[in-house]
């Protein structure tokens, strides 16, 4: 058995990480916890992209390039997301998302 040389192992790992992140996003009350969960999901996707790049000959360089760009975009996302969280916190005096109910009718 050669686990480190099979694509499926990486992909299943990425899937598990993604689902953990998804659970965190759905279940946590804290806005920053949700942001962290998003980062987990992004990393899961990144892992799968890098794995595809490593195991599929046609995607050799493309996989890594996309992964790097995702990292850059994630950085931008984190910047803006955290800025938003801070702004909302300043406005509502709470980081708890379930108390943000401005969208309620």
């Amino acid at each position: 058995m050669n686990l480190a040389n099979t694509l499926d192992a990486y992909l299943v790992l990425a899937g598990a990480l993604f689902c953990i992140g998804a659970f965190g996003f759905l279940a946590r009350r804290n806005a920053i916890s949700m942001l962290m969960s998003i980062e987990l999901m992004l990393n899961a996707v990144n892992l799968s992209i890098v794995a595809f790049g490593a195991f599929i000959p046609g995607l050799r360089t493309t996989g890594s390039i996309i992964a790097l760009m995702v990292i850059a975009v994630a950085a931008a996302e984190a910047t803006v997301g955290l800025a938003i969280v801070v702004a909302i916190y300043r406005n509502r005096k709470t980081p708890l998302v379930d108390e943000y109910d401005a969208m309620r009718r």
Partner: protein, 676 residues
Amino acid sequence: MNAASLIPLIAALPIAGFLFTAVAGRRLGRRAWVVPVAVVAIAWAMAMVVVATALSGGFGESGAVVKLWEWIPAGAVRVEAAFFVDNLTASLLIVVTTVGLLVHVYSIGYMAHDEAGYWRFFAYLNLFMFSMLLLVLGDSWLTVFAAWELVGLSSYLLIGFWYRKNSAALASKKAFIVNRVGDVGFALGIMAIFVDTGTLNIRDSIGHLASGGVSLAPCAQGVVSCAASMPIPVWVIALLILAGAMGKSAQFPLHVWLPDAMEGPTPVSALIHAATMVNAGVYLVARANPIFASAPGAMVVVAGIGIFTAILAASIAMTQTDIKRVLAYSTLSQLGYMFAALGVGAWTAAIFHLMAQGFTKGLLFLASGSVIHAVHDGQDMRKMGGLAKKLPHTYRTMLIGSIGMAGIPPLAGFFSKDEILGETFKAGFIWVWAIGVLVAVMTAFYMFRLIGLTFWGESRVDEAVAPKVHESPAVMTVPLWLLAIPAMLLGLLLSWPGPPLGPLFGQKGTGLLASWLEPVYKDGLAILGRGEEAFALFGIDGVLILVSVAVAVIGMVAAWRLFGVEIGSLRRRGNHEQVRELTARVPFLYRASLNKWWFDEINHLLFIVIGGRVAAFAWWFDVNVVDGIVNGIGSVTRRSGSGLARVQTGRVQNYALGIAVGLIVMVGSYALLASR
């Protein structure tokens, strides 16, 4: 000048008079009668020229057609505005224009005390004259139908002429609505005729229907579906036309409007509800005689309805106390006779009776109007009596009319009624004849009951009114006498078989009217397979005449015994004890007759009580079921909306969970499908 060119003018003059009077009448005040009476007089003169031309064969056997313009040019459907005069139309024209003219003249005096409505009355009368002439003269079913509605409208306007009187307003509505019932049938009948024949021309369509099939012409033009040749049976058409005729001619069960129509001024009753409009149904059936001849079942229906109406109305007329109501039921009864005649195929007899009754009934109504006028608008015969000496002209003319109605020779009423009864007997409808004879007894009885109560015996007029009772002015009595002449002589004239009149109008040994109308009924009689029969004075006809005279005398004498008589040396006092005794012996029949067989109550029960319940149920159904469904849809939407709105928590994570669930469903279903 060509007589046919006068035909449009006959109809155009009254409508011109109507328009003039409607616009300018109010300012003319008491002189408002001049123009309307003048136009009707001119129309009468023209009509007489046309009639003389037509009856002397001037228009040929098929009659004269005057096409004015194409009214409805719609592809293959073409309706022309045209007039048509044949001998049947001419016969009707005599009655309509003559009685119309005399009623106009009479109204000058009768309506004199109605200041405000004087011009309105004459305007309406002119409108009616136009409508009635259009009805008689129209060449297409559509024209006739329009005229049919117009006479209904004028009738409505004139019945409700004294619209401040509640009963008059109600009566006009009743007449209008009951007539609608028949008119629906007539309209459907016209549509059925069009479906079958593709034309609305009366002569063409009757020709098609009588020849037993659709001509190929309308089929080829695409007006009528070729796949269904003759899709509607002739008997249906006949019954639908009959429905229209029943409405206008007030046959059972649509007869209820006519007695109430007596709320209108008496000249209106004379003109519209006795002499002309109510005869429109008879005219229509006679005009459509080949259609009816092709449907023997419908003919029996016509005869049955006619004779039933005759005996029903006669039985009611025997006990009514309102002088005009007696005459109204008498009119109903005589119309029933005409329908019975139409039903047995004695179309000539029906038209004969129509003409005789037109004059006789017009005379009686105008005379009753004179009586009412004299006793200051009292119509109750129990408050009359002994008026003969005070109203000599009215009395004499009314007596002439009554004798005619009773059927004593040689007055017009005798000839026409005898003709109907004889034809009925000879056509094999013995039951119709038997009932007809019974009705003849009743007719003689109630007519002389009327005369006895009104003119003979001691006066029962109110003390206050009695000194003021006076004969009507000449403008009213002269028309009475002018109507009395045809009421006396018309029968003799029209049934006279020999010279000098016969050769003059080119007739062939039968009665004058029969030879006039022979071309009109040629087709219908051919279908019925009935030929001309020789008149046998000393055979069956003589016996029937004797029976007719005998029953008239029986009825007359019975009335004399009960209600008295004062003709010349024939004098007898009325016996009120005996009347009371007789009515007590047949309480049910008496009460039924007095209450008009409860027809108004039955209608009330049917349409107001039961119909009201149905309407209330329909209303309930509408409110609760129809509206309920609509409102239910609304409230279900609203409730489901507000229920579903709870899903919209406004919390991002709930939505995200929705996305996750959706993803699971999508991926799961894909996995399921892919694993197959």
